[in-house]
């Protein structure tokens, strides 16, 4: 009985002690180093956007956003900056066409191509649980990096270094 308790105590102590060293807030994406999920969406200015658009040649940034999401507006300036040197693809979640086009007219359009995720199920496949979220995908369509929340000026450095390392 005593030994049983001792083992029990040691086990819990170990778990809790190890737990102290970890940060529970840090959430890695399950998709990292996996292939991008398949999808086929209606395009914004094109007939469609599919996962095959993201296999082509270079490193790509995929940004999940919506015109109704205020933080997306905050990161827009940074996306414009990133789009100068990289190709940025957008997936607009539950967004109406007219609202999106007026929004892009006002703020500028950094996106090479935009998919309209009207039902929001492609966002679910990508494990997006809040807008905006941004992924970096390499030449072979493997997800390399995920950024949750708006990209602020201070985040640019890290994103750019990730892209640089991939190239």
């Amino acid at each position: 009985m005593r030994i049983l308790f001792l083992i029990f105590f040691c086990f819990f102590f170990f778990i809790f002690y190890e737990g102290l060293k970890k940060d529970p807030k840090e959430i890695p994406s399950n998709l990292i180093s996996k292939k991008i999920p398949e999808f086929n969406l209606k395009g914004f200015n094109s007939s469609e956007m599919t996962n095959y658009d993201l296999y082509k040649s270079e490193i790509k940034i995929i940004n999940f956003f919506a015109s109704w999401c205020p933080p997306c507006q905050i990161e827009h300036e940074q996306l414009m900056h990133l789009s100068k040197k990289n190709s940025v693809f957008g997936i607009a979640k539950k967004n109406q066409l007219d609202e999106l086009s007026s929004w892009l007219k006002r703020l500028g359009n950094p996106y090479t191509k935009i998919g309209m995720d009207l039902e929001g199920d492609v966002s679910i496949d990508w494990g997006v649980y809040g807008l905006p979220e941004t992924f970096i995908v390499d030449e072979e369509g493997i997800i390399k990096y995920k950024h949750v929340g708006p990209i602020m000026k201070r985040d640019l450095k890290e994103l750019e270094s990730v892209i640089k390392n991939l190239r």
Binding site: M1, R2, F5, F9, F12, F13, F14, I15, F16, Y17, E18, G19, L20, K21, K22, P24, K25, I27, P28, P70
Partner: protein, 635 residues
């Protein structure tokens, strides 16, 4: 000057209480070699801690920003009441409050006239040692009297969410409950060294009820605050912090049922002691999970790994001490008298099994993310769906036990005979079930079932009073313990109805609403009137105006707010609620649309929510009657 005094007083508390722990340590090796008058020590410790707490309160009220905690959690613009409640609106101060409550209970126990001097000495020795552990935690890791240099001219604000009467009184209540379990632990562990443990059950009883009442009120207040302040439209989110308070509540509820058997029949005495120790261990575990930052929670406490390690050591040393004492003094012989399942004590044992299995599953769900992170290195979050789905199957046998239990006789009874006695009750069950079903037939089946179960509990409890009156002819001389049990059970019935209404049956509408636009929610028409800027003492608020009509008659105007606090740029939502006995209309206002004429409004209709709080009041009343009863019976 005052703050230095407060610090000095804490050091004296540390030194004085160390005498007790020294004695406790030495006596386990060389019995009765050292002896201090523990009685006097605990009085002294209490007075010193109280003075130190007053010093800290004084610094808060006078905005002494040279203290680190004051500068970080207060502000000169703050209304005086929140300057004071800011004392426990931060980690350091709240642990000092914890110590104060703990020493206060030691002080109260030293005044107890029921315990023999020897036993009192043994209990206080353990209790003062617990105080010693907490005071060293304060001094080494969370000193509230730490200075900051140079002192800032103005403090950053008290977290705006805490600037609210509900939250100002919620932590002290919770602590009175949590910490109350420390004296229960001390009494139980001390009782282990005595041959006749049943003697101590009477001493233990009032403490159990008292702590349980406070914890119940504390949890109720916290949930009420979350309901109206957070603007999420719910009252319970299965957050780790909430679970941490629910765990000791569940075991304490099991304990206060068992202690009745232990007192009346002399059965399950060992089990009572185990539950007492377990309850305090769970309180400490909750503190560890909440304060060390090992789990993600909506409650933002300042987290610091060194504190986490200290609390972990505290948790394990206190648990180990209790367990070792128990193992050394118990021979694990099964008690001579067997308990029949169909009997009052059998039903109460059944209650214990369900309470504990519930506690175990909640515990598992709460710490599982930690396990999976450490062992499998994978992040998992366990949310409300898990807890709701485990709660449901346990509810059914639980409710049946609650209905039959009070009618079962002590010793031995027969299920058929019980049901025979309850013919009228069973008949009224059928009628009420049809009535509820008829009134709500459009709602989900699950909701109807739970509301029926809630009604059954209430009716069967009221039926007890009727039965009693039949036998005794006098409704005014109902014994306290009966009022207690009936009231608490009605409380649970109401809680089930309220929780069902505000979770399964709730209706939610989120939209952009234009000025003048009407949104229909349940039977109400909600017309948006516009938004006004209103200035508070230390915030600016955007106050929305909503006219509420029912059948084209204006009932009330609701004014939900979005407050922007001047310091720290924090924003809080103040929901506006129109409560009726059938349900709450609940409005929270969001951001303005780009076109500046539409605003986001979130409107909920939460049926029966008010019964949750009324249920908690019933529980507390029930507990109070038991408490008074347990005090009287000792004389």
């Amino acid at each position: 000057m005052i703050s230095e005094l407060g610090f000095l007083l804490l050091i004296i508390v540390f030194l004085v209480s160390s005498l007790s722990s020294f004695e406790l340590l030495m006596n386990t090796k060389y019995p009765k070699n050292f002896s201090f008058d523990q009685d006097k020590l605990s009085k002294l410790i209490f007075l010193l801690t109280l003075s130190s707490f007053i010093c800290l309160s004084f610094s808060f009220v006078n905005s002494d920003f040279s203290l680190n905690v004051v500068s970080k959690n207060s502000n000169s613009q703050l209304p005086i009441i929140y300057k004071f409640t800011g004392v426990w609106g931060n980690h350091e101060g709240s642990i000092l409050l914890w110590l104060l409550v703990m020493t206060f209970f030691g002080f109260l126990f030293s005044k107890s006239i029921f315990a023999s001097t020897n036993f009192k000495n043994d209990v206080l020795k353990i209790h003062n040692t617990l105080c010693f552990l907490i005071v060293s935690f304060i001094l080494f890791t969370s000193n509230p009297f730490e200075k900051t240099f140079p002192p800032p001219i103005e403090g950053s604000d008290l977290n705006p969410l805490l600037q609210d009467p509900g939250l100002a009184i919620h932590p002290p209540f919770l602590y009175l409950g949590y910490v109350g379990f420390s004296i229960i632990y001390s009494i139980s562990v001390a009782a282990l060294s005595y041959k006749n443990k049943a003697l101590f059950i009477k001493i233990l009883r009032p403490w159990v009820f008292m702590s349980w009442i406070f914890l119940t009120c504390g949890i109720g207040l916290g949930s009420w605050w979350a309901y109206y302040e957070l603007g999420w439209g719910g009252f319970w989110f299965w957050d780790p912090v909430e679970n941490a308070s629910l765990l000791p509540w569940l075991t304490a509820s099991a304990l206060l049922h068992t202690i009745v058997i232990a007192d009346k029949r002399g059965l399950l005495v060992n089990w009572t002691i185990v539950l007492s120790i377990l309850t305090f261990i769970l309180s400490l575990l909750g503190t560890f999970l909440v304060r060390s930052g090992v789990l993600v929670s909506v409650h933002a406490f300042a987290n610091d790994p060194t504190r986490g390690i200290y609390i972990l050591l505290l948790l394990f040393s206190i648990s180990a001490f209790g367990v070792i004492k128990y193992l050394n003094n118990n021979t694990f012989t099964s008690s001579q008298s067997k308990i029949n399942l169909v009997s009052r004590e059998g039903m109460i044992s059944l209650n214990n099994i369900f309470m504990l299995s519930l506690a175990f599953t909640v515990l598992l769900g709460t710490i599982y993310p930690l396990f999976s992170n450490v062992i499998f290195n994978s992040k998992i979050s366990v949310g409300a769906p898990f807890f709701n789905s485990i709660l449901m199957p346990v509810m059914f046998p639980f409710v049946f036990g609650m209905i039959i239990g009070p009618y079962a006789r002590w010793g031995k009874d027969d299920l058929i005979k019980i049901l025979n006695r309850l013919k009228i009750l069973l008949f009224s069950f059928i009628i009420i079930s049809f009535a509820v079903w008829y009134l709500n037939y459009k709602d989900p089946v699950l909701a109807i079932i739970f509301i029926i179960l809630g009604c059954w509990i209430i009716i069967s409890s009221l039926f007890e009073l009727v039965q009693f009156q039949k036998v005794n002819r006098n409704i005014f001389h109902i014994p306290n313990k009966m009022i207690a049990q009936v009231s608490a059970h009605i409380g649970i019935g109401l809680l089930i109805i309220g929780a069902t209404g505000s979770s399964i049956l709730k209706k939610e509408k989120i939209q952009f609403q234009e000025v003048g636009e009407i949104v229909k929610v349940n039977k109400f028409d909600v017309q948006f009137q516009g938004v006004k800027k209103v200035e508070g003492p230390n915030y600016i608020s955007q106050m929305g105006f909503f006219k509420i009509f029912s059948k084209d008659k204006l009932i009330t105007i609701l004014k939900p707010e979005k407050r922007f606090y001047n310091s720290g740029n924090q924003v809080t939502t103040e929901a506006a609620i129109y409560s009726t006995i059938l349900g709450d209309l609940y409005i929270a206002i969001g951001d303005v649309h780009q076109n500046k004429i539409k605003w986001t409004s979130r409107i909920w209709y939460n049926p029966y929510t008010i019964w949750i709080w009324i249920g908690v009041v019933f529980l507390a009343i029930g507990g109070s009657f038991s408490f008074v009863n347990s005090l009287r019976r000792k004389k």
